[in-house]
């Protein structure tokens, strides 16, 4: 039991921060990202690390975390719809002042770029760029084919690039004024 806990602890230390970063980029929200990361690890602990083949835990965690994040996104979309009906004030889900303050400028740019991507493209790109997973590994996490991963990543890069150039043009215009 002790060795299992040690094994779990080492995986937690190795993956937790990366999982939080991935979820924060996916959801655009820090507190939700940490909650989902902890829930994913809790599920792994309850499931039993010993039941997974060696080196599978990381992919298992990202797969579970992504599914939980999808649920969270659906919930928050429902919340937005409901609050939009109740009051126009809540129509835009702007980050709170505390969240805004904590975010560095470069993080803000990345979030701004990523939030315009479709979810699957965003997830595939994040797993590739941040986690350095191969297309085969990404396909395992997302449950899609490698050719779909290839297309998703390319489309994500193309969209991101367009958005990036738009942001540059906007900021250049603002500087000219």
């Amino acid at each position: 039991m002790a060795s299992q806990d040690e094994q779990f602890t080492s995986i937690f230390k190795e993956v937790y921060a990366n999982l939080c970063r991935f979820l924060e980029c996916l959801l655009g929200e820090r507190s939700a990202a940490q909650d989902i990361a902890q829930e994913s690890f809790l599920r792994l602990h309850r499931f039993g690390l010993y039941r997974l083949p060696p080196d599978e835990a990381r992919f298992w965690l990202f797969r579970v975390a992504r599914n939980l994040a999808l649920n969270e996104m659906q919930k928050s979309q429902t919340r937005i719809r409901l609050s939009a009906k109740a009051a126009d004030v809540f129509q835009n889900q702007a980050p709170g002042p505390e969240d805004d303050f904590l975010l560095s400028e470069s993080n803000r740019v990345v979030r701004n770029l990523l939030e315009h991507l479709p979810e699957r493209q965003r997830t595939a790109l994040l797993l590739r760029e941040q986690e350095e997973m191969s297309y085969k590994e990404i396909a395992r996490v997302l449950g899609i084919s490698e050719s779909q991963v290839k297309t998703d990543i390319f489309r994500a890069r193309r969209l991101l690039r367009e958005r990036w150039h738009e942001l540059h043009k906007t900021s250049a215009k603002l500087c000219e004024r």
């Binding site: 937690f12 937790y16 690890f41 191969s134 990543i153 991101l160």
Partner: protein, 157 residues
């Protein structure tokens, strides 16, 4: 402005091309400004995404780990069984069909077994030949719904 090979540039920076093809794309990029610019932009975006800062609070992380380790692993027999909806529907239908069949068997009139006839149809000659039956069930017949059958037995030597 676009080039058909820009998608290959994306594969090249991910190391997903075979060596021959990778060399071809590198040569192509030397002469194609569109692909060359795409390569630079893709790498720059990669750097930005990779450098996204996230430093979780150490104390919060330690507490989270302690909480998770303190939780009891769920035993296999305590796990919730999750059946897919079509399978669940099929199982329910099967159970309903079995229940219906069982009720039908109890309610439906049983066919007369071969070689047996109701008591009132047994002619007197046969009745005379038949030795005293071991079980006389006629005492249970109160003129209601019971039907009494007699079995034709071979006389014992």
């Amino acid at each position: 402005m676009s080039c058909n090979l820009t998608e290959k540039v994306s594969l090249l920076i991910d190391g997903e091309l075979a060596q021959d093809e990778a060399e071809q794309i590198k040569q192509h990029m030397a002469s194609c400004s569109i692909c060359n610019r795409a390569n630079e932009d893709f790498l720059s975006l990669r750097q930005q995404i990779k450098s996204y800062e996230f430093a979780p609070d150490r104390e919060a992380r330690r507490q989270a780990l302690a909480r998770i380790l303190a939780s009891e692993p769920v035993s296999l027999w305590k796990k919730k069984l999750a059946l897919p909806v079509p399978l669940f529907a099929f199982v329910m239908l099967l159970m309903m069909a079995l229940a219906g069949w069982a009720i039908f068997l109890r309610v439906a009139p049983q066919p007369t077994p071969a070689g047996l006839r109701p008591v009132d149809q047994v002619d007197d000659a046969i009745r005379a030949q038949t030795p005293q039956p071991g079980f006389d069930l006629s005492r249970f017949d109160h003129g209601q719904r019971a039907e009494i059958y007699t079995a034709r037995r071979t006389p014992q030597q």
